[in-house]
């Protein structure tokens, strides 16, 4: 089994900065932006993005966490998952532009669940999706608005996103089989 580093810390920083600019551009400014990360690593990425966007726009960008465990369509196919906290920033999501943030976009099932979870929290004006890595293999008609890196992969490979806040360092690696 070979482990290959796809993004190093500097690449990761650059990717997030680019996404931050794209968010501001597409939203025409920072007004009404709320970033919600999907646990676990999406939450950290949302915090980082919110900080970068805020720095660029010289304002405070609210960020929070949106757990989708209870909304998944595959609960009965796996061992019980422990849910993670959902934390919606003060002010809620009604009328806001919510940017969902996740580390890896794969089948799209997590994001589908996130739409349901979001609908139970209120009515956003618009919902966008930012991901650090898009590895393909979609099972739903879902597309990310902001992508750090497109990483075509085989289903046998594993993409690991490491973030300093959780894993001690920043990196994106891919475990591939030699065959």
């Amino acid at each position: 089994m070979a482990v290959r580093i796809v993004l190093q810390q500097a690449d990761l920083d650059r990717a997030l900065t680019r996404i931050a600019h794209e968010i501001l551009e597409s939203n025409r400014g920072a007004d009404g932006l709320v970033l919600l990360g999907i646990p676990t690593r999406g939450v950290v990425l949302a915090e980082r993005l919110a900080a970068i966007v805020g720095r660029i726009a010289a304002t405070e960008i609210p960020s929070g966490a949106l757990d989708v465990t209870m909304y998944r369509d595959d609960l009965g196919r796996n061992p019980v998952r422990a849910p993670q906290p959902t934390a919606v920033p003060e002010g809620g999501i009604d009328g806001k532009t919510v940017v969902l943030v996740d580390d890896v976009l794969y089948s799209g099932r997590t994001i589908r669940a996130a739409f349901d979870a979001l609908a139970d929290l209120g009515r956003a004006r618009a919902v966008r999706l930012a991901v650090l890595v898009d590895r393909g293999h979609r099972e739903f008609p879902i597309r990310a608005d902001f992508v750090g890196k497109n990483l075509p992969s085989s289903a046998r490979e594993r993409i690991n996103v490491r973030l300093a806040e959780i894993d001690g360092d920043d990196a994106v690696t891919i475990d591939g089989r030699d065959d």
């Binding site: 019980v80 959902t86 139970d120 929290l121």
Partner: protein, 316 residues
């Protein structure tokens, strides 16, 4: 978790994990949309061989908020009271495709019999069996204690060093048994207080102190005092002379309540006998957790149903 039958066999991480899930469920209860789609398509049967409207509606609310279909099966007035066996009832539920069975039964051990007999595949939740256990009550008590003590910082924590006095009819109390095991598993110290006639004859294996003197127990300023409901019929079996004497010696009356600092919680699993085991002032004080206990009951039962029914079945 395959079944929830007792707190005796809950490991600490398992118990804390359940309370943490209950925190998530509690957060959902604070939203405008209180319902989750999690158990859509699952069927939960409330199988009640004993009347208990409170417990039944708490489980019913929990199951419905997780989008499960709920069937209430009250054994009173049904074929069950006409001699149908637990086995036949279980096989009926199996044929109906029950995914979860919440059972309240007058016989100690009935939930375990249901879970281990092979009559049924469903996950079994003990909603109170005889004088044995009432695990979700203890879990909601622990949840209530943890929230009052640690607030938003509750997640991941136990009840280490918390001192709880449980007062009353320990002998017949499934609430007391479940709390003794769970609270001590979570690190709390438990003292049981009541008349000697209402204590089991041998509590040497219980991780709790036993006392007969409520005033002495209160002098030690516990973090919580849990008053148990005293059943009127106990009087007739010579467990104590009469309710006046009981209230005087083991009731949380105004004088005793006044001696407690405002930090000591007053708990009661309900329904209360005001003026017997607990005075109205204590029951209605800000120290009383009685209403929180009811609200938390739904969150804890949602957590239990989630952990039992959401994953693939057949795992241990």
């Amino acid at each position: 978790m395959r079944h929830l039958l007792s707190t005796r066999d809950l490991e600490r991480p398992e118990a804390i994990g359940l309370l943490d899930v209950a925190e998530d469920m509690a957060a959902v209860q604070e939203r405008e949309v209180k319902k989750l789609p999690t158990l859509r398509g699952k069927t939960v049967v409330n199988l009640f061989f004993e009347d208990s409207t409170r417990t039944r509606i708490s489980f019913e609310a929990a199951a419905k908020r997780l989008s499960a279909d709920v069937i209430n099966f009250s054994a009173k007035g049904s074929s069950v009271s006409k001699g149908e066996s637990l086995k036949d009832t279980a096989q009926t539920l199996q044929a109906m495709g029950a995914d979860g069975v919440v059972i309240r039964h007058h016989a100690s051990g009935a939930p375990q019999t249901l879970a281990t007999s092979g009559w049924i595949d469903a996950g079994v939740v003990n909603a109170g069996d005889g004088t044995h256990e009432h695990p979700t009550q203890a879990l909601l008590d622990a949840f209530t204690l943890r929230r009052r003590l640690h607030g938003r910082a509750s997640r991941g924590r136990g009840l280490d060093g918390t001192r709880v006095v449980i007062v009353g009819d320990i002998l017949h109390s499934r609430v007391a048994r479940s709390n003794v095991w769970l609270l001590t598993t979570l690190g709390a110290e438990v003292e049981l207080v009541g008349p000697p006639t209402l204590m089991p004859v041998d509590t040497s294996a219980w991780p709790a102190r036993i006392g007969y003197d409520l005033d002495a127990a209160l002098d030690e300023v516990p973090d919580a005092v849990m008053m148990l409901r005293i059943q009127a019929e106990r009087m007739h079996a010579a467990y104590f002379p009469n309710s006046r004497e009981y209230a005087r010696i083991w009731g949380l009356d105004d004088a005793r309540f006044d001696r407690l600092p405002p930090t000591t919680m007053v708990m009661h699993p309900g329904p209360m006998n005001r003026g017997l085991e607990i005075a109205a002032r204590a029951a209605d004080s800000p120290q009383s957790t009685v209403r929180e206990q009811v609200a938390n009951g739904v969150s804890v039962r949602m957590a239990a149903l989630y952990l039992l029914l959401s994953g693939e079945r057949g795992e241990s």
